[in-house]
């Protein structure tokens, strides 16, 4: 039994390390602006709570929409617990201003309490991406008939669970999240710490 526990601990640690996260230490923090009007040293300022961290951009019509849809379902299961905070960081700081993120939150019905949408300077946001092992790079640019150019981003599809000490305890794809099972895991962390 003990061997099995060690095996899983090693396996989870290896997966997190491969993804750019150190299983023993919290990801380094950056100064980001949130949709609640405050500036956070993210994710350090959220320690003390279970944090569900996700990455999206507002011009993303597919993968990010799936992720947000799953997270909204997750919110209905665990969002009422004040021990949990959702934090969604932009993949596209050049276009996703705080105002753009607020508008996005309104369209999607994302709660304004304990669900932060975060952006910042390109350098600060890229530091967060690096800390979580997130890749985000411009892919192709569409030239519309109006002459306007719209670019898209190839990006990592990942959702993270941070424990109360800010340490990454789980990383998995957000767009294919099994919400029921994930909610059970979140509740275990709420009860267990």
């Amino acid at each position: 039994m003990k061997q099995r526990a060690v095996f899983w601990t090693v396996l989870v640690s290896a997966v997190l390390l491969l993804g750019g996260c150190d299983a023993a230490h919290p990801p380094s923090s950056s100064r980001l602006q949130a949709t609640d009007g405050r500036t956070y040293n993210f994710p350090a300022d959220l320690r003390g709570r279970i944090v569900i961290v996700s990455f999206i951009y507002t011009h993303c019509p597919d993968i990010c929409r799936m992720t947000i849809g799953h997270l909204l379902d997750l919110w209905e299961r665990v969002g009422g617990d004040t021990n949990v905070v959702f934090a969604t960081v932009t993949l596209d700081p050049a276009r996703d201003t705080v105002a753009a993120l607020r508008q996005y939150a309104e369209v999607w019905g994302i709660p304004s309490v304990r669900w932060l949408l975060l952006t910042g300077t390109i350098a600060e946001v890229e530091r967060v991406h690096k800390a979580f092992g997130i890749v985000a790079r411009k892919s192709y640019t569409e030239r519309l008939p109006t002459g306007e150019s719209v670019y898209f981003i190839d990006h990592t599809d990942a959702v993270f669970l941070l424990d109360r000490n800010g340490i990454v305890r789980d990383r998995r794809e957000g767009s294919s999240l099994d919400v029921r099972k994930y909610a059970q895991m979140v509740q275990q962390y709420i009860r267990g710490q």
């Binding site: 597919d62 799936m66 508008q103 369209v107 019905g109 892919s139 192709y140 519309l144 190839d154 599809d157």
Partner: protein, 139 residues
């Protein structure tokens, strides 16, 4: 706006009504989005005819520009989207456009669309002309 309406009328004008019943668009829906934003639409294209067909263009009334896209997974594990020129619908079969896969990309919505709202989508096929369906907006 006038240009768009003319484009849609032209698009619909190539209608091959006798054959339309053998190529049907079903279960169309799209994600909600604000005016001016980009969003995705999804549906099932059912082909009852003995020949495959090809969807070569799309126009949505609610968007300034419409394209056929697919979602790709790159070698490094990142996800992204790419435009594709056409969709092949198999004979006596269906093609399902769904999240994380094939989809219709709607650029710059003409107005904010919330769950329950609707948008007309036209698809043009090589063998069956232009088909029309209604997309229902979801969260």
């Amino acid at each position: 706006m006038k240009l768009i309406i003319v484009a849609i009328i032209t698009f619909v004008g190539v209608h091959a009504s006798a054959q339309v019943a053998s190529l049907q668009l079903k279960n169309g829906w799209m994600y909600s989005a604000d005016s001016g934003m980009i969003t995705g639409a999804f549906l099932t294209i059912q082909n009852r005819s003995p020949q495959p067909d090809t969807i070569i263009a799309a126009i949505a009334e609610c968007a300034e520009h419409t394209e056929i896209h697919t979602t790709v997974r790159n070698e490094d594990g990142t996800m992204g989207m790419r435009p594709i020129p056409e969709l092949i619908v198999p004979s006596r079969g269906s093609l399902v456009l769904k999240p994380r896969s094939l989809h219709i990309m709607l650029y710059h919505l003409r107005k904010t669309l919330r769950p329950g709202d609707r948008c007309i989508l036209f698809l043009r096929s090589k063998r069956h002309g232009t088909l029309k369906t209604e997309l229902i907006v979801r969260r």
